[in-house]
């Protein structure tokens, strides 16, 4: 009997199922790096930019603009790192980085994220600063959960954790900054390290 052919068939089925539906697995390293960027951004913000007790931050103040710039820089650095590491991995595995799955992954990731971003901007322009941290965590978590069906690994659990943190943050006003540090810094590093160890074992 041609048992090798059947083994090959099974292998091909698995391979095609993986490649066609969920080929992109963000490497653990990109998670760790994203967490480190977030922590450094938060450290700079905490040391130099947070308003002194008694004063408050306004939309047009210089430190508000700098905080926004830091946020954008953290996001951009994380995205570039994730892109470079994924491109490298795709090349190594002889896969195309940009195909139907990646496109759908990006779209399902961006819908909640952009919605949240616009919502936060609207709230900021009407002077509702208080919930920004919580909203960022919640919408980011939703984006992760939504995109997870096109990725390998356990990224939806990171999403659930971010959503849970966001909700806790909403219930404890005044700690937005610390929840942000926990969600975007610590969680990314923990998740990234976990994934990294798993990758090394393989």
């Amino acid at each position: 009997m041609d048992e090798n052919k059947y083994l090959e068939d099974i292998g091909q089925i698995k391979d095609l199922m993986n490649r066609s539906s969920r080929f992109l697995s963000l490497s653990g390293l990109s998670g760790i790096m994203a967490g480190l960027y977030a922590l450094s951004g938060a450290a700079v913000t905490y040391l130099f930019l947070l308003p002194q007790p008694g004063s408050y931050i306004t939309l047009h103040s210089w430190n508000f603009k700098l905080i926004i710039a830091i946020l954008l820089a953290v996001a951009a650095l994380s995205i570039v790192t994730a892109y470079l590491l994924s491109a490298k991995k795709a090349k190594k595995n002889n896969e195309k980085l940009w195909d139907g799955t990646t496109k759908r992954l990006l779209i399902s990731f961006l819908i909640p994220l952009v919605t949240g971003g616009i919502y936060i901007l609207i709230k900021l322009t009407s002077q509702h600063y208080g919930l920004t941290g919580s909203l960022m965590l919640i919408f980011y978590g939703l984006a992760l959960v939504n995109a997870s069906k096109y990725t390998l690994g356990n990224i939806q659990y990171l999403g659930f954790a971010e959503i849970a943190l966001g909700l806790m943050c909403a219930a404890l006003p005044g700690y937005g900054f610390w929840f942000w540090v926990l969600g975007f810094g610590v969680l990314h590093i923990v998740y990234g390290a976990f994934m990294y160890l798993k990758e090394q074992k393989r």
Partner: protein, 98 residues
């Protein structure tokens, strides 16, 4: 039970096996996506999708995106059942070998 009971002759071909594997995990897939994943020519792919369509294992939906024709495929319930049985049979055979 014979060893190759449950092996479906229709799936005993690389491209048809590939088409079914992809459709098991994707709601719908268009022609070009198949070409990209399976690395086959138009004519070759078309003849195999036809075979699977005639067996009622997949459904074909033709439409237009702008002026370009777009052909989408999805798996039928019968196709899903048949392919699951085929995978089970393959796994069964492999287990017997060990």
């Amino acid at each position: 039970m014979g060893l190759i009971d449950g092996i479906n002759k229709l799936f005993d071909h690389r491209i048809r096996l590939g088409i079914m594997s992809i459709l098991m995990v994707n709601e719908h897939v268009d022609f070009n996506r198949f070409k990209e994943l399976l690395e086959v020519t138009d004519g070759n792919l078309a003849s195999h999708t036809k075979t699977l369509e005639n067996a009622n294992y997949i459904l074909v939906e033709k439409s237009f995106i702008g002026r370009k024709p777009n052909t989408k495929y999805r798996i039928t319930k019968a196709g899903r059942t048949a392919f699951s049985k085929h995978i089970e049979a393959l796994e069964h055979i492999i287990k017997q070998q060990k």
